[in-house]
Each structure stands twice: as C-alpha cells, then as structure tokens.
Symmetry: C2
Subunit: 230 residues, 2 copies
C-alpha cells in the first residue's frame, strides 16, 4: 500500500514513518519541505531517516515561507525562546509557529499523493505538546481531509478516498518515544532542536529540545543524541 509521509527528520515524523510501515504501508513516498528553516541539520536528518526506513521515493521541496516572515523559525529577526516552562509553552501560540505551515505542507503532500496515486497521507502532528498551534488540532485535520476529497481529480472521480493520518495526535511525547522504541526506531538519526550549535549539536534548552528530553526521561529511555547543555 502506498502512502505519502511528511518527513522532517524529527522525532515525531520519524515515529510516524515507523507506524505507517507497521500499518502495512510498505511503499512510502517521503516529502521533506524546506520552508526556509534557519539550519540544514533537519534536512540531513530527514535524508538519513528516509534511507533507514527504505522509502521508495523521497522528494525535497523548497518553499521559502521565510519570504513572508512572521516566525522565529524562519525569520532571523525573531528570537527562539529558551528555557520556558511547560505551562508557558502550552498556553499561547508560540513565536515558533510558522503561519499556515501545516496547511502548506499538507497541500504539497496532497499534490504529491495525487501524482503518485496514493490516497493516504501521514503526518506527525501532535495535539498534546503543541496545543498552542492552531494547525495541530483535530478539527483542522478533519477540515483538511474534507478539502482533499473536493480538491483532487482522484477524490472527485471517486478513484481514491483521501485520508489524513495523524497517529501521534493524542500521544504524549513519552508515548511517542515508547511507540517508536517498540517499532525499532533509531532516534540517533533524528534532529529536533530549533536552535542548534554551528556544528549541529542540539541546544538542549529550546522548547523542542525540552519536550524531547522530558519525553525520553518519562519513557525511561536514554536519548541517543548529543546536547550542548545538560
């Protein structure tokens, strides 16, 4: 069975790839969108992960959302926050939110899916840790699935019933790590940090690093990647 998977090379999308394989999607078409991130370590991780999971095709597509500005992840003038509490992260939409990112990513995945004849799209969004992001909520994903079936030749002609899979949606970071470990994910290949050192070491203190480290701790596994700070 064919599926398109949005693969950033982070912990979440890598676990999602393992879940898709485990559910019988043996032909994975990976899509890594380079939306103008500050660093290229994510792309290198995506490539490693794609190879490790034997994707049948891997497209790297550049869409420079940093042209629009408006996010700490794509705009060098906005600082990435460090050392925030878990409550602070959960409460409002963070500055690391990239405007309409998941809408853009899913629409590109949809174009790819239609071209390769896949009805299934996997993405590693998560509602628990990223409750502040509007485009990580179930209502958003349902609305996109509805749109997908109206937007495509395959959907309209009834050839394919498009389905959006977000298997991590209701999992905590610890549950994600446990699931991945059970499925044989090698997390040393992944990259999570928003703000790595110039040589690619994870900072350990940005929101993303904190959530990851806490997830490993709670799951009772050791995180195999190196951090610049403990």
């Amino acid at each position: 069975m064919r599926a398109v998977i949005l693969l950033s090379g982070g912990l979440d999308s890598t676990t999602t790839a393992a879940i898709a394989k485990n559910e019988g999607f043996d032909s994975l078409y990976a899509l890594t969108v380079d939306y103008g991130q500050r660093h290229q370590f994510e792309l290198a991780a995506a490539m490693r992960v794609g190879k490790a999971w034997g994707v049948v095709r891997h497209e790297f597509l550049k869409v420079d959302l940093s042209q629009f500005g408006g996010s700490a992840l794509t705009d060098a003038n906005i600082a990435v926050p460090h050392g925030r509490s878990a409550e602070a992260m959960g409460q409002d939409i963070p500055v690391t939110y990239v405007p309409a990112r998941n809408t853009v990513m899913l629409s590109l995945a949809l174009a790819y899916a239609e071209t390769v004849g896949a009805a299934d799209i996997f993405l590693g969004v998560n509602h628990v840790d990223y409750s502040g992001y509007p485009d990580c909520r179930p209502a958003f994903l349902d609305a996109f699935e509805r749109l997908a079936n109206l937007a495509t030749r395959a959907g309209v002609e009834g050839v394919l019933k498009m389905k959006i899979h977000a298997p991590l949606l209701e999992m905590s970071k610890a549950e994600i790590v446990r699931t991945g470990m059970k499925l044989g994910v090698d997390y040393s290949l992944t990259h999570t940090c928003y703000d790595p050192t110039p040589d690619g070491k994870s900072c350990g203190v940005c929101d993303a690093c904190q959530l990851r480290r806490e997830g490993f701790r709670e799951a009772g596994w050791e995180d195999p990647i190196a951090y610049a700070s403990r």
Copy 2:
C-alpha cells in the same frame, strides 16, 4: 483595506485585481507562485500587472510542483492539447490540470495573508470555462475558507475572519472581459497562452487561447495581444 491576491498575470487574475480594488481593497498584497511552468512569460506579465495596479507588495514564490510531475503544464513529457472543441474542454479533467494546484496556491496565500494581517484572499478561478477542474468549484472554495479559519492563529484567536473571494466564479469569459474593460483593465499587459512561441507570442490554439479569443469576440472587444496564428 488589505487583501492578498493570487496574481498569475493572466486575464482572469488581472480582472480579479481590478475587482478587488473596485471593492475598496486599496492595499493589495500580490502573490505570484511559480510552480514550475514551462515558460516565464506568465511571470513577466504578473510583474507588469502588479505594477499597473499599484500593489503595495509583490512576492514571487517558487514552488516546483513539476518535481512531482503529472501535468502537461509542468511536465515536458505530456503534450499540451490544441484545437479542442469547447465541449471537449468542458467534459473531463484536462491534462493541463496541475494536481492540487489551487489548494497549494491558496495555502501559500493564506500563509502570506496571516503574516501581513489580511483577512481577505482573492483568486481568479472560474467555474464556467474550467468546469473540469475539481479545485475550481464552489464546494472546494467553501471547504478551503472553512479550513482557513481553523488553520490560522488569526482565525482561531478571532482576530480575523478569513474570507476567500472568487468574484469570477460564475462569469463567462465574455462577462469577465466586459467587467475588466469597464474597470479600466489594460489586457495588453496580460498573458494567457499555455504554449507560447519562443519569443513569447501566444499560440492562439491551445485551450486557454481559444477561451480567451472567444471571450473577447463575444464581449465585442478586440484582444490587444498578438497571436502566432489566426
């Protein structure tokens, strides 16, 4: 009032810009998406039109959908059809259909709109002449508008109520031309042809040229652009 407009530089999007201005959207943020078209004449036309209508900002964003393949407009291995009858054009989804194109374009427009604080997005899709395209239908546009309000920080926080405007949706090509002429559109700036000659002259016989020429004829105006064949 601010609005984002998807501006290809064709007859439809140019007329749409004129309508948006006429409706009081004096601050137009133009977005021209280069999705891997076969030629650059469209981009040059978009730039001319943006200048003519005094857009406050014009972003040209490259998103190479031709990486995925699957359309005569982006894939050099698929021929652009010539000299088809109007019935043939209306009946099935043409090979010039680009998979999920309008979904991709609207999601990029949404990212732009959220960044600049615009609640309104204009696009020149048309239901009459392009009935074969799934993503030119009213149901698709309604579904996207619903998605837009779930996808964005502005929508979720209730700051902006996102609205998709497709003022040409139910117009015939002749009505579009008449509307544009009334609003002072200079159609000599626009480019429509799918398959121009190397020096940028319109072929006159592809689906897009045929619809355009027929529209001008029916509207009773002379088309100011040059054609390679009569």
